[in-house]
């Protein structure tokens, strides 16, 4: 329970209507999209101004209350599951796009702006904000920066972190810290923005984010290649990259996923195919034409059974409809879905795909694999029923096996979902004890009371 005096202070700061203490409301802020146990906070707050946000942070620190910032709660690693009896700060009322500067090509936003809304707003002005995480229709930009979220376009355009030009965030005392600039180049001070990207709310609380924008590509072409052998598909991925073609998206889908998508949406996918590649090239029309031709001939050379190039917007849409429905289609098969994002150097995609099949067989669990083959970020998707305790144990063992394999191949535990709670105990495997110690020192220097989203990332 929060003390009455403090509760009053919170009410004064954010307005009584934005303070939630009812048990029912608190339960709705106890989870995110990760498959983890919910944890009930003591209070949830929904500040509507930056000043209120700053004061909330200070009050939490003064009262030693753990504080977890929550955007849309779509986190897949438990980064927004609060601490017991802590404070949840919901940012969705801080949802203003403060500036879109066409001349200097940047946007300044509050942390609660929904990703897709910014993307649409800048597109209306002929500009492009490329990061497109799967939850972009609801995810907030503050959450995207805090998790360094990725998406389908990572191969060519990079991830959220590549677009953060500057930040204003509050330190644990509620003081505003400014880093980065509105300029393309900026070489002053520590690169604190670099430190904050992916810090999952453990080092500070974002108030304003300055994001880089780029010109909208003039043209694009989508295609779908069908393979009878899974190896041929993954070798084609490696060949396209080796040929120095950089598609905007280069997505892979295994047979299990193909069958699920077809059963769900009947878009006419070849259910006997071992694998599909969904590829889109974009840029200047002449370049698009040339790249598309090269991709087609590479697919053929590496044994594609067939390849279809979308001739118009409708066909292009149907190619991506297949990919967009992958997660939905898999989700409908079993009650529980665990979406992993272990990532390997892209040349290791064939090994990783094989390993997923071996792990699925070895542990006797269903894994559908699809995802961003072009940047090495596959999504092995485990289908299970969490209520089945025996199977759940096998699932946990399989997840560990997936992590081990990714690390063995020189990869990482997470390409885009973050460490959170779900992966914090595996982090040392990837980085080593010295790295963990260094990180802990940074954390305790900046947040001596350990109130900023405790237990995340470094445990």
């Amino acid at each position: 329970m929060i003390q009455k005096g403090l509760l009053k202070e919170f009410q004064k700061t954010v307005g009584a209507a934005n303070v939630f203490t009812d048990h029912a409301d608190l339960l709705t802020y106890s989870y995110d999209a990760a498959v983890l146990e919910p944890v009930l906070p003591a209070v949830a707050l929904r500040p509507t101004t930056g000043e209120a946000l700053s004061k909330v942070v200070r009050l939490c620190n003064e009262n030693l209350l753990p504080l977890t910032v929550r955007g849309a709660g779509t986190n897949l690693s438990g980064g927004t599951v609060p601490s017991a009896k802590g404070v949840v700060v919901v940012t969705n009322a801080l949802n203003q796009i403060l500036e879109i500067n066409e001349a200097d090509m940047y946007a300044v936003v509050q942390p609660g702006v929904v990703t897709a809304k910014l993307a649409a707003a800048v597109e209306a002005r002929g500009l492009f904000y490329p990061p497109d995480p799967g939850s972009q229709a609801v995810s907030t930009l503050g959450g995207n920066v805090a998790e360094n979220a990725g998406g389908l376009r990572g191969l060519k355009y990079g991830v959220t972190g590549d677009y953060v030009m500057g930040l204003q965030f509050f330190d644990v005392n509620g003081e505003p810290i400014t880093t980065g600039s509105r300029t393309v180049k900026c070489a002053t001070g520590y690169n604190l923005a670099g430190l904050m990207v992916g810090s999952e709310g453990t080092l500070g609380v974002f108030n304003k984010i300055t994001l880089k924008l780029i010109p909208l590509p003039a043209d694009q072409k989508a295609m779908m290649a069908v393979f009878d052998e899974m190896e041929n598909a993954s070798e084609t991925v490696a060949a396209i990259i080796a040929d120095h073609i950089v598609p905007a998206t280069l997505e892979y889908m295994d047979n299990f996923t193909i069958r699920a998508v077809e059963a769900y949406s009947r878009v006419g996918l070849p259910v006997d195919a071992a694998a599909l590649l969904l590829i889109e090239v974009d840029g200047h029309p002449a370049q698009v034409e040339e790249d598309a031709q090269k991709v087609v001939s590479l697919c053929k050379k590496f044994g594609a059974a067939s390849i279809k190039v979308a001739v118009d917007a409708v066909e292009r849409d149907s190619v991506w409809e297949a990919r967009r429905s992958a997660l939905s289609a898999l989700a409908k098969l079993k009650p529980t879905l665990i979406l992993e994002d272990a990532t390997v150097p892209r040349s290791k995609i064939p090994d990783m795909v094989r390993a997923m099949q071996d792990i699925s067989r070895q542990y006797g669990i269903e894994i559908g694999t699809f995802g961003h083959a072009g940047d090495g970020n596959l999504h092995p998707t485990i289908l299970t029923d969490r209520r089945n305790k025996q199977e759940w144990e096998k699932v946990e063992a399989a997840i560990e096996a997936i992590f081990d394999k990714a690390l063995e191949l020189g990869g990482t535990l997470s390409g885009e979902h973050g460490t959170g709670i779900a992966k914090s105990c595996f982090l040392e495997k990837e980085t080593g004890p010295a790295t963990i110690l260094y990180s802990k020192r940074v954390k305790s220097a900046l947040d001596p009371n350990n109130i900023l989203n405790p237990d995340k990332i470094i445990g």
Binding site: A24, L27, T28, D32, P38, R46, V138, A331, K332, R387
Partner: protein, 433 residues
């Protein structure tokens, strides 16, 4: 205090449906209530988590959950957008029934549902009486929209601009109708629905006119009851069941090929809610419900799929009235009907259809939601108004009388000069020429 163990046991019946939600949160993108409030308890994911909490006995009393469960338009936007295919509406209505059974209905709801709605004849008489007296209490505010507001400050009507009860409800003009299968070779049962009968009788008249023009035989029994959705959404299963049985008895008396309605909500209720909520009833009732729900069609759907629209000669089409169309949630999201009403509109050459932005976003009516949460309902409605205005049209059509009410209210409160019509009225106009 309510027996939380008992509630948890009852909730177990929903467990297999509840676990389908993977908490991805994508429902936040489309929920009209969440867009206004930003509160997780207002969006489907939050409500599903609350029901999960009840099942796991995480609450000392069910009041908080019950209250939040009722803050929902039942528009189905979340279900239509759900990657996992959670049967959100089915879960919510069943859960409301469980909780209402435990906590009892409010006095007002009891009076409305069990005192009035369940007795179709009494309901008709009271409304007829009300129609005669409404001028005393209300004054007209917008002749084009046909709306009124309270003559004096009334806590019940607050600032509403409502379309008044029809001077003469449809059942007084035409209590019943029996015509034989015409040249079309088809005969339909016509389910009128309360709002069309009592507030928009012109929609029923237009529907009958169109069916006759298409040589479709009509069976319209007298003393039809409400489809039952106000009872079902309040969790009053007893009233709901009585109304379904009343209507079954009426319509089973004669043969027809399809049951048609001009109300999106009635169609969705008969087609989707009846079979789902009554699936555990005795076999013969289940079979009777199945038989009728399978042959229920929205009027636009019926016209396009079963008889085909008539080509109307263009006369005076130099200055067509520009009209925009609002997709009722119960048509587009529940039944997947969106092209058909537009085709019906386009069949009248005197009108030019122009799309508004976000035509399929809920208008915020939600039946009793509008009564309980008028503020939120109006905020959602105002967004609809902005989109209607943005279309630059002079008229707006929609295939649901409940949406017609809400849209008339929000337009009237802004003093907009707009005509609100049902597509079938527009089509009937063309056939009359």
């Amino acid at each position: 205090m309510a027996d939380m163990q008992k509630i948890a046991d009852l909730m177990r019946a929903l467990e297999d449906q509840l676990v389908v939600c993977m908490r991805c949160g994508l429902c936040q993108a489309v929920c009209p209530v969440f867009e206004q409030t930003g509160r997780e308890a207002d969006v489907a994911r939050g409500k599903l988590a609350l029901l999960d909490g009840l099942m796991h006995k995480m609450f000392g009393d069910p009041n908080g959950v019950y209250e939040r469960l009722n803050r929902c338009l039942l528009c189905g936007s979340c279900a239509a957008n759900c990657p996992s295919g959670v049967s959100v509406l089915e879960i919510f209505i069943k859960a409301r029934a469980i909780l209402a059974g435990y906590m009892g209905l409010s006095a007002a709801k009891k009076l409305l549902l069990r005192g009035l709605l369940v007795h179709p004849q009494l309901f008709d008489r009271i409304v007829e009486w009300g129609a005669n007296f409404q001028q005393v209490f209300t004054r007209p505010v917008n002749d084009l929209l046909g709306t009124s507001c309270a003559r004096f400050v009334s806590p019940l009507l607050s600032g509403r601009h409502f379309v008044r009860l029809a001077q003469k409800p449809f059942h007084l003009t035409l209590p019943s109708l029996r015509t034989d299968t015409g040249l079309s070779g088809l005969r339909v049962g016509f389910f009128v629905g309360c709002l069309i009968d009592k507030i928009f009788p012109q929609v029923a008249e237009a529907t009958i006119h169109v069916l006759k023009q298409h040589e479709v035989g009509i069976y319209m029994p007298e003393e039809q009851g409400c489809c039952g959705i106000p009872a079902a959404s309040s969790g009053d299963m007893a009233t709901f069941k009585r109304l379904v049985q009343h209507n079954l008895n009426k319509f089973e008396k004669e043969k027809f090929d399809y049951l048609v309605t001009s109300c999106a909500t009635c169609t969705a209720t008969i087609k989707e809610v009846w079979p789902v909520l009554l699936q555990k009833e005795p076999e013969d009732l289940v079979a009777r419900v199945k038989q009728i729900s399978e042959k229920t069609l929205d009027i636009h759907q019926f016209l396009i799929a079963k008889v085909g629209l008539k080509k109307v000669c263009p006369v005076n089409t130099e200055n067509p009235v520009s009209i925009t169309y609002h997709d009722p949630c119960h048509l587009k999201k529940t039944l997947g009907v969106s092209e058909e009403p537009r085709a019906v509109l386009k069949a009248n050459p005197g009108y030019h259809l122009k799309e508004m932005p976000q035509a399929d976003v809920c208008c915020g009516m939600g039946g009793s939601f509008n009564l309980q949460y008028y503020e939120i309902s109006s905020d959602i409605g105002r967004k609809k108004r902005e989109n209607i205005k943005a279309s630059g049209c002079d008229a707006v059509a929609t295939g649901c009388p409940a949406c017609m009410l809400q849209i008339s209210d929000v337009l009237s409160r802004s003093n907009d000069r707009f005509v609100v019509k049902h597509p079938i009225e527009i089509y009937a106009e063309a056939l009359k020429r």
